[in-house]
């Protein structure tokens, strides 16, 4: 008869398997811990460049942006995260009227970070950054005006 199946065999086999488990956790007990201490390591921590935490509009030193108010991003967004308000401005030199951006609103609270807006933008006016500390107390604070 198989020793493993006898009464004594079962007891011994169980004890062996249990001790193996205990041994493994004991080794873990003494190995250095893997925890990253988040708020303490804020300065040194590495977040992937590609991480998408929030949409932003790159502004130059005068606060100008590259947006041409074409509305492609707002149209391609699956759930209406982006709304664009435009106005018509007449160029003084040429006299032609031109559509310019008045307000670019982005609702961080319902963005799904699918990157379609960034992909579709013809001027690379918008991009995602990796600043993830965005929790707020008020829902309305999540609706952000991106242009200045």
């Amino acid at each position: 008869m198989d020793f493993k199946k006898t009464y004594i065999g079962r007891v011994i086999y169980s004890l062996v398997s249990l001790t193996t488990g205990l041994k493994t956790t004991l080794i873990e007990f003494f190995t250095p811990k893997v925890t990253e201490q988040y708020p303490e390591n804020r300065k040194t921590q590495h977040i992937s460049e590609r991480h998408r935490a929030m949409l932003y509009m790159s502004l130059d030193e005068n606060g100008n942006n590259k947006c041409i108010a074409c509305g492609l991003c707002a149209n391609t967004c699956p759930n209406g995260t982006i709304t664009i308000k435009t106005k018509m401005v007449t160029d003084e030199e040429t006299g032609k009227s031109k559509k310019v951006l008045e307000e670019y609103t982005y609702d961080l609270g319902c963005c799904m970070f699918c990157q379609l807006c960034v992909n579709v933008c013809p001027k690379d006016a918008i991009a995602f950054n990796n600043k993830y500390e965005n929790a707020v107390f008020d829902r309305s604070k999540l609706v952000i005006k991106l242009n200045k």
Partner: protein, 213 residues
């Protein structure tokens, strides 16, 4: 004005200090007693450092919530690791994931079952606004429509650090609250009684609310 302090992050670097300050101003209007306010500070210290959350997850964000609990991010460092499965023992509910029409009454009921003081954190796009599924026929667009939300953590799903950040925001909010005085309770008893949850699958004799109707 008292400024709630959190280790390792200066007050100024936190987002949305305006809302917090207006909350403090509102709460401090009626408070004069120094002794009471010291006691309040002590109680708030206890409360804010012992936020036990209900294990509640419906979808993707729930997995990130588990990741926060695991070794790398380890929310035990903050004392949040005692996640309770029974709403009676939990202090906060992290609504992690989409809430659908069918789930909405369940969520409300869980919230009602929790003991005061209780807090709600809306995690991720779905819980904040319906997120990716905003246009769906079966999705609740934001849990703040049925329960009061204290902190919103945007992301889809938010990364674990963002969740920890959100929890610290909640700590800040807890730290400015008053234990003494009626501002404490989020809902009056009256409101609780009027809450629209009606239990339908018990005998009518036991169902007080139904009998009242």
């Amino acid at each position: 004005m008292k400024k709630p302090a959190i280790k390792s992050i200066p007050y100024e670097e936190f987002k949305d200090n305006e809302t917090l300050e207006s909350l403090i101003a509102e709460l401090n209007k009626e408070r004069t007693n120094v002794l009471v306010s010291k006691l309040d500070d002590l109680i708030n210290w206890g409360r804010s450092n012992s936020l036990w959350s209900l294990t509640f997850a419906t979808s993707c964000c729930g997995i990130e919530f588990m990741a926060v609990g695991a070794a790398r991010y380890d929310f035990a460092r903050f004392g949040f690791e005692v996640t309770r499965n029974s709403p009676r023992q939990a202090d906060l509910i992290m609504v992690a994931g989409t809430i659908t029409h069918k789930m909405a009454p369940v969520l409300k009921r869980l919230y009602d079952q929790m003991a005061e003081p209780k807090y709600v954190v809306a995690v991720g796009g779905c819980a904040i606004s319906g997120g990716p599924f905003k246009g769906s026929y079966h999705v609740l667009n934001g849990v703040d429509k049925i329960i009061p939300v204290d902190v919103y953590i945007p992301g889809c799903p938010p990364r674990p650090e963002a969740m920890l950040y959100g929890m610290m925001q909640l700590q800040r909010k807890v730290k400015v609250e008053n234990f003494f005085g009626d501002k404490n309770r989020k809902h009056s008893r009256k409101e609780m009684q009027d809450s629209p949850i009606i239990v339908t699958n018990v005998p009518d004799s036991l169902n007080e609310k139904k009998n009242q109707q």
